[in-house]
Subunit: 369 residues, 2 copies
């Protein structure tokens, strides 16, 4: 008896995983991390109102969530000044990116992104057989003009940009992104991943007509709202594109408790302001720690700080390994020249103290290693 | 400017939805249901231990869930006497079916199921362009011999059977399913959907070597464990097939709270026994209500009772509409001849009283309608 017959595409795919979770590292090391600062989770936590709503909803977990995500979509539409027909809720931005790629990409279709940008998007593109074209960053910024030029050149169906950017923490002002939308080639869809927008400076989010067929924005409750584990992302876009998700999505894929928690979090903008202030404080603290250790903290528009270790990828990997050994879960960019950096998430004071304590010996070990 | 360029397959797909949720019906009607008995949810609720664990986990929702689902897979492996490499956890059976179809089916590939069987499986097969071949039920049972014969005839890559069955509530004994596995044609994978197995009579689940490459079993926390809203399903199968999911799945797709809730539920088999007893009592109550109203309750191996209304689909649809008007959320099979039936989920006493009160006037209205 033979095994299952996979598609040709699946046979060609590696068994890759975009990210290794901290739990895996903890199991391998046989001990828990002292500071969980590698996945840009929000250690300041979700709104107490969201926690209370989820606790109250726990006993009702026997009910499926509303497959239309009606209440959450209505609240998001009011929040963004658009219609619910412009909002699609899904299992995190990761889930929505998977659906979006599936809607547009068949084997060989061109997709443009930046070299070193979000690996889960790349994972989905390759998973549907897309032909990936990668544009270099311009310094520490994604390069809108180069992305658009490559999209035009390759006849791409999708062009991806994150603003603010991960892993470099940089951002473009709203006007640059708005100009990029205007330049999107005919028949190409721009994905504007705004996972970190809630933590960015005022003036980072452009004013885009939600009915504009050239762009789809991705937002999430994972970062600013502190609900990464609840898996609630949403897309804002033109109604026909939003409706197309219904052709393929897992209609009953959303957790009921997550729908309820996200709705409660959205109503607590006071907590969001508190989180923004705490994140700003933590960013400054991380920058100071970097400086004290002779390293360069890059400007950050996110809830993490990318720290230039001042040498090459080999050295930065040593620094990162030293931090992990010392109980600090952090990560680093995958590709040169960004891999001269490490990336540390913002977090509460105790975690910052842990970083301040672990970085000097990690650096010393990296220098002598 | 044109809109996005969808794949040819997506362009050909209807904007169908496998099921309308009760919340949509409630919004349309402008009032809440008195009894929520249409989606085979488990109104007896999850284990109090699971509720407590999820409440305690709510504040930690800022952390992503473990992408390996390590702890839950380890516990499930111990529970089933297999290795964690034989277990894949996913966003409900619905999510896992979508991944499985994606792994195997390219446009035109043959897939065999029963006419009237689980529509979400059909949705996924059509969503990946599979050529669907439907075999009629044999009375109220899926027909293993006919499914296997059709799979052989069409060179199918997948053949689907649910045991116990939804929507007919029937079941085959373990020996019949074991014989079906032995008869699976070379190169075909059998999907054994056991969503309702926790509520079936002893002797319904066959003993299958988890390393057998001919079959993949689907299980869920949605039915017996009362955690439908937490979206936790799992597959049991040969290690290479389980590993293949890692090529395409949404690695961070699971809610952290759901992982924790499912793990706690699994440890509380006392609660599961309590639920089984309550479901059995409710099944008898629903059967008695049917009999009192001159209808025939089909034997049930599930947490719902399929009731033959004694006429055709037009009549059963009228009865169902009458129930819905009277505040009872129920559903019915989609295709003839099963659509002579309505389908009512088991539930607590108050819900059974509501059904007992609503059915006579619903029937009377259907007769005169």
């Amino acid at each position: 008896m033979t095994g299952p017959r996979y598609t040709r595409l699946v046979q060609s795919l590696p068994a890759s995983v975009p990210f290794t979770g901290p739990e895996t590292l903890e199991r391998n090391a046989g001990r828990a991390f002292r500071a969980r600062l590698g996945a840009n989770e929000n250690g300041f936590g979700p709104s107490p109102r969201a926690i209370a709503a989820m606790q109250e909803a726990a006993a009702g977990a026997w009910m499926y969530g509303d497959p239309e995500n009606h209440d959450l979509r209505a609240a998001l539409a009011a929040h963004h000044g658009c219609g619910p027909e412009n909002i699609m809720v899904g299992e995190g931005i990761d889930g929505l990116l998977g659906y979006l790629v599936r809607l547009l990409i068949e084997p060989g279709d061109a997709v443009v992104t930046s070299d070193g940008a979000y690996p889960t998007f790349t994972f989905h593109v390759l998973g549907f057989g897309g032909a990936l074209h990668k544009v270099p960053y311009l310094g520490n910024h994604e390069d809108p003009a180069a992305l658009i030029a490559r999209a035009a050149e390759t006849g791409a169906k999708l062009v991806y940009i994150a603003n603010p950017d991960n892993p470099m923490a940089s951002h473009h002002p709203a006007s640059t992104i708005a100009a990029m939308v205007e330049a999107v080639p005919d028949g190409c869809l721009m994905i504007l991943d705004e996972a970190y927008i809630d933590l960015a400076p005022t003036g980072t989010a452009p004013d885009i007509d939600p009915a504009d067929p050239r762009v789809i924005r991705m937002r999430t409750f994972s970062k600013g709202y502190g609900l990464a584990g609840a898996r609630v992302g949403y897309a804002i876009g033109a109604a026909p594109l939003i409706a197309a998700f219904n052709k393929i999505r897992n209609h009953f894929g959303m957790c009921r408790t997550s729908q309820i928690g996200a709705l409660a979090a959205l109503t607590d903008q006071g907590w969001s302001a508190h989180v923004r202030a705490e994140v700003a404080r933590s960013r400054s603290r991380l920058a100071a720690i970097a400086t004290e250790n002779g390293l360069i903290a890059l400007p950050s528009a996110t809830n993490f700080v990318t720290i230039d270790c001042g040498a090459d990828g080999v050295f930065a990997r040593r620094v990162l390994a030293g931090l992990i050994e010392r109980g600090i879960f952090a990560r680093m960019p995958f590709v040169p020249p960004h891999d001269r950096c490490i990336r540390i998430s913002c977090g509460p004071d105790a975690e910052m103290v842990a970083v301040a304590e672990a970085l000097p010996p990690a650096l010393a070990a990296a220098c002598t290693g």
